[in-house]
Amino acid sequence: MFVLIAGGGLTASELARSLLAQGHQVHVVDWRREVLARLHRELPTEAVFEGSPNDPWVLERAGITTAQVLAACLPSDAENLALCFVARQRYAVPRTIACINDPRSAWLFDARFHVDVALNQAEILASLIGQEMSLGDMVTLLKLKRGRYSLVSEPVAAGARAVGVALKDLALPPDCVIAAILRKGDLVIPRGKTAFEPGDEVLAIVDAEAAADLARLFEAVPAAPRSEPG
């Protein structure tokens, strides 16, 4: 795939490196001298284009007419919006992705400006930090459906409610599926009879609201641990 990235900030250059490693064609456009110097250290010369991403001539030279994806990662929300609009309107770029710098302008990042996907980094980080604080050892690996569901990983603590309990007997929250258990480095496909052991790493897909209920099953019970022989 051919991806054109406007703006060579740290997020954008990380994206460029990972796309290049996956074998995609990537062009990055930036106008700032110090950013260009860093891009040239990190990326192959043919991937770096110098000039203003507001300038149609620069965009055309960087290949916007044949780009399959435009990623607008500029430090100004107005520029990201304008660029996505122009990319679709003037150059018929099939897919546009834009970063949101200021959450106050997030309401504009949609079809009205031809933005297909908007990434609100402040919101993602804030919600991740909020979850990390409330859900103890549970780690969110992946967000699905704009954050409505998550793939999470949760270690099973010694003395947790779930220890020794078979999956079929575990009172799981309704919108939750145990996808896999990592036990001593091996993958265990969970069946109804599979019982949980301390030190297991549970991978689950869970509804945002049920995450806390799920976490409670695998955390150490604070007072008077209840043992349930399986």
Binding site: N54, P56, S76, A78, F85, S105, L108
Partner: protein, 135 residues
């Protein structure tokens, strides 16, 4: 006429006072409060301070009730985006955009905006005066 002016630099403040003198109800929006000092002391319109791309700012400026909006900040991208929001979201009947950097002109055209290019227009005026008379 209810007119909203976004950007209170030299152009925005001059335009605001002209429209005010002509009897229009003028609201000036700028993200930077001290910019309102550019306004003429006898200007009697409304001023709204806030991020110009924030929904709350545009609602406080009553863009939804405006008959006209002029986007005249010194950022072409901000002008283009605010003007598009005024047309598409708030259905403002008359919207005019200031083009600041001539390289941006084509992009304003992609939005279909009505554009005033102050730099380009100024340059042509100077050119006409310099080359007039054939000396």
């Amino acid at each position: 006429m209810n007119v909203v002016i976004v950007g209170c630099g030299r152009m925005g403040s001059t335009l605001a006072f002209k429209l005010h003198q002509a009897g229009h109800a003028v609201t000036v929006v700028d993200s930077n409060g001290p910019s309102f000092r550019n306004l003429h002391p006898e200007f009697r319109g409304r001023t709204v301070e806030g991020e110009v791309l924030a929904e709350d700012t545009l609602r406080r400026a009553a863009v939804d009730q405006a008959d006209g909006l002029a986007a005249v900040t010194n950022s072409d991208s901000v002008n283009a985006v605010v003007a598009h929001v005024a047309r598409v979201v708030f259905r403002v009947p008359k919207v005019v955009v200031r083009n600041y950097d001539p390289r941006w002109l084509a992009l304003h055209e992609a939005f279909g905006h009505e554009v005033v290019s102050s730099t380009g227009w100024g340059a042509s005026q100077v050119e006409d005066l310099l080359t007039a008379g054939g000396r």
